[in-house]
Amino acid sequence: MKVGIPQGLFYYYYYPLWKTFFQDLGAEVVTSPSTNRQIIEKGIESAVDEACFPIKVYYGHVRELCHEAVDYIFVPRLVSVEPRSFICPKFMGLPDMIKAGLSDLPPLIDITIDISRTERFLKRDIVRVGQLFTSQKSLIQQSYQHGVDELRKCRKLCQSGYTMAEAIRIWEGEEIILPSAFDLSIGVLGHGYSLYDQTISMNLIERLRQMGCRVQVAEILDQTAVEIKAAEIPKRVFWTLGRKLVGSALLMEKQTDVDGIIYLACFGCGPDSMIGEIIERKLKTKPFMMMTIDEHTGEAGMVTRLEAFCDMLMRRRVVKGEDYISAHG
């Protein structure tokens, strides 16, 4: 049995779990290739114009997997991965959108992941998915537990400065060495599925590293401290990723080793449009830049903005000793 996992959206947060789970159940796991021009074109062709860029790219990944002769494609319905929080409406309707938008699909494994109230249904659904491959209930539970452990291992790698995408590559046996010398340290925030996808983010993180910056992503930070910071906002942010981003931004503001913060938003992303505004208003002492991307974004414009931002940070540091320069110009 062959299970296809599209390399998009929550791949960057949960792939080790899913891969281990399916492999332990005796299935062969294939992923679509990492995002390229062809995938993007296919995605734009199949998705509605108004969908956000990562969703369009996901359509492309699913179409790519259709050629691979897989028995199943894993398209989970992610409603909520923690109590009383959501991901985004589009994730909640994703399997239905894919089914309506693409024809000649292999069967989808559209497990519903919703633990906003109780974990009971998730456990039941995992067993149901596992039963596609085996009839041993204990094996299914073991595989899931193994998956959770592997995911934890992989996430631990992030604490030494790797992005989730790099952590997944290391977890799969690659070796990646991060540059050790740097002039600036920049906090880079954004939804993982756009930020860590090299093509969607137009290699933002790698570019910053080449400019001599140390990149700090949200996963580096101590997650309890992030939650405490996020709770400072008058109303609890009910998007899981959004809350982590707000918390991370506020935490980075307090860290002396972060020179500035860049927020990568997707055009048309609902949470980003609100969260970006909140962060922009709360950050008083650190330079902050918000970049919005979609399929029409040009690389040159982005590079110019990054260079300008880094130059500004450098100059700010030089002058800092003598006088105070406002973060807002």
């Binding site: 998705a47 509605v48 108004e50 969908a51 319905r77 409603v79 009383r84 929080s85 959501f86 991901i87 985004c88 409406p89 589009k90 909640m92 309707g93 399997p95 239905d96 959108m97 089914k99 309506a100 938008g101 519903t112 906002i233 008058p234 109303k235 609890r236 942010v237 009910f238 998007w239 938003a265 055009f267 048309g268 992303c269 609902g270 949470p271 980003d272 449009s273 609100m274 970006g276 505004e277 909140i278 208003r281 919005t292």
Partner: protein, 366 residues
């Protein structure tokens, strides 16, 4: 305390009646105008959806008129509406306004918060007076809605369309000014009789269902008065949601009328199998419902980048194909224009009309 609130269709009439009953002073925002839009756009985050921008414009204009307390609804996602009040408060505070904001939403953890919020609104009156005030507001809304339904029925059929619009506009003013439940009902009945006595064209007009996001559906300023545009093209519009239904389902917990939501969930299967926040599921359910009622077409409207409606839009083509109903999606933002909208509507109506004609001819030949 001078209270203000955001506009949404005819809601200001009901809220005004309610607040009067609660013995609170109200300063309704001026009707949505170009200035409202401009103020909202200037001060809102660029990528926020349009209702937030109009809300903000409303608030600024009301605060300029002397309001000092804003009443706003809230929610707990996943639609971004739940975070509107927070962002709007931050922006208004940043602009230097001094005001208090009361957010009506289910509390996150402590029920005490909600009680506290409600209490600050009703401190002048007893519980029974409050219930009476709610009933009074509700009756006005009901009276106006009857007129509205009649309006949708008469506009495409009448020869003199200006007259129909005039009757409706006068009725909404009369109901707003009515001092009691009986007066409001009388004004409503009068308007309905006036409309019925007009001369009508023969034959059945096309029937098109209107589905989509609630604010765009209810607020004519946000949808460029799409109902009247269609009515003037001699199309009978059936709105999927009226204000009373929405209030009944969302605020009053289905106490007043029987909720139709359960039926919609059933219709939405197998196209959409899960709640997606906002009105995504309702949009799908209503579309299937309209298709099975043999409507000639369905138009989905929403503010640009509305997440639940994008999910619905992605699914609409497969409904259109399987249920055999033409569907069109229109997005609205601050840059839409009436001319472009009319052209698209005309093209859609032409297409629907031709399809209907063709189907009728096939039937005759067979």
């Amino acid at each position: 305390m001078k209270i203000t609130f955001p506009h949404m269709g005819n809601m200001h009439i009901a809220i005004k009646a309610l607040m009067d009953g609660l013995k609170l002073e109200v300063v309704p925002p001026p009707p949505i105008s170009k200035r409202t839009y401009e103020l909202g756009i200037k001060n809102s985050p660029e990528f926020a959806c349009m209702p937030l921008k109009i809300n903000l414009g409303n608030f600024i204009e009301a605060l300029e008129k002397g309001a000092d307390t804003i009443v706003m609804a809230g929610g707990w996602g996943p639609c971004r509406f739940g975070y509107y009040a927070q962002v709007e408060r931050d922006i208004l505070e940043g602009l230097g306004y001094d005001f208090k904001m009361i957010v009506l939403e289910a509390p996150d953890s402590r029920i005490y918060d909600l009680v506290h919020q409600l209490k600050s609104l009703g401190e002048n009156v007893s519980f029974w007076e409050a219930v009476k005030a709610i009933k009074y507001g509700w009756s006005k809304l009901n009276a106006l809605e009857l007129v509205e339904r009649h309006f949708d029925h008469c506009l495409p059929r009448a020869w003199d369309k200006d007259q129909v619009e005039k009757i409706y506009d006068n009725a909404s003013i009369a109901i707003e000014q009515a001092g009691s439940k009986e007066e409001a009902q009388a004004a409503g009945m009068e308007a309905i009789q006036a409309m019925s006595s007009l001369e009508f064209k023969l034959g059945q007009p096309l029937k098109i269902g209107l589905v989509g996001e609630i604010y765009t559906l209810l607020e004519p300023a946000a949808n460029y008065d799409i109902c009247r545009l269609l009515g003037r093209m001699e199309v009978e519009v059936c709105r999927s949601t009226y204000l009373t239904e929405w209030l009944n389902d969302n605020l009053l917990g289905g106490l007043v009328k029987k909720s139709i939501r359960k039926g919609l969930v059933k219709y939405a299967k197998p196209y959409l199998n899960y709640e997606v926040g906002g009105h995504g599921l309702e949009t799908i359910g209503h579309t299937v419902h309209f298709a099975r009622l043999k409507y000639d077409g369905v138009i989905q409207i929403g503010p640009l980048t509305c997440m639940p409606e994008i999910v619905a839009q992605s699914i609409l083509p497969s409904i259109s194909q399987k249920e055999g109903v033409p569907c069109m999606t229109l997005w609205f933002d601050e840059l839409s224009g009436t001319a472009g909208l009319s052209t698209r509507l005309e093209a859609f109506v032409d297409m629907v009309q031709r399809q209907k004609f063709k189907a009728a001819k096939c039937l005759k030949e067979a």
